[in-house]
Symmetry: C2
Subunit: 157 residues, 2 copies
């Protein structure tokens, strides 16, 4: 079984456990995001579906399905560019505490890292101290990735 199919199967199980359904359309959109790897906008998915599956899906449905996938922790929305990306931890026991995304501003590569959980806990303490309660823990950090760094360095010589 391919890795992709394995992830899809994992996602199905995950939904079943939560009492929700990973319908074919939802599966299709998850597939897109898994294949694309890079963050993709809702309309980007629309185009991708059209070009690769001949499937015309209305924007409303795509947004709805993306919401479903987010609620079921299968997809993250990157606020920084209004784009979506498949969760990197669908088939591992990794918990979904506070995902942290490093986003390259040049090539849009995204790396989901796992900082020291003590660090995250301290951040949480700071938040509680300010009388706020974290509801959607997610950190996005706008970066330049190593490849793009060396690229520009070379160019400027």
């Amino acid at each position: 079984m391919t890795k992709l199919e394995n992830i899809i199967k994992g996602a199905e199980q995950h939904c079943r456990r939560k009492g929700t359904r990973l319908t074919l359309k939802r599966q299709l959109i998850l597939r897109c995001l898994l294949l694309r790897k890079k963050p993709t906008s809702a309309y980007g998915i629309k185009t991708y579906l059209k070009e690769n599956y001949g499937e015309e899906m209305p924007a409303t449905s795509i947004y709805r399905i993306l919401s479903f996938l987010q609620e079921n922790l299968l997809v993250h929305k990157l606020q920084a560019h209004n784009k979506f990306i498949a969760c990197a931890h669908i088939v591992c026991k990794h918990d979904h505490g506070t995902p942290q995304f490093l986003i390259c501003q040049k090539c849009e590569t995204v790396k989901e890292i796992d900082s020291n959980s003590a660090l995250i806990e301290e951040l949480q303490r700071d938040i509680r101290r300010s009388k706020f309660q974290l509801i959607s823990p997610q950190l996005e950090m706008l970066c330049i990735c190593n490849d793009c760094q060396t690229e520009t360095a070379t160019k400027s010589i």
Copy 2:
């Protein structure tokens, strides 16, 4: 001198030091954000200008001016909702390391907090370890503020 005028004066000095100019239009938009206090969209500013100053400003100009204010560290853009807010530290020696915003999802109140800088440094180390380089350090955390929490708690009784 009012606090507002004091901040505007501070912003002017700040620009002068950087060799940029806080023109009247730029000042006007900064004023809006300082008065509104809550995060405001570009078009929200447009409406505000119209209603409160009778000033019709094209969207392009507003976006341009917001970019200017961001570059000059007078305004932050909150990625989470595509809205803008005046920097809380225009007239203090506070440095602009890594601003951290707690954003209430109900009432949109924003609190700019200052976590322990050791914490931020560790986050930076994690990033470097992943071979990324932070370029626009800013953390946005989606929360519920204390007021909205107690409000819903009361309602549910």
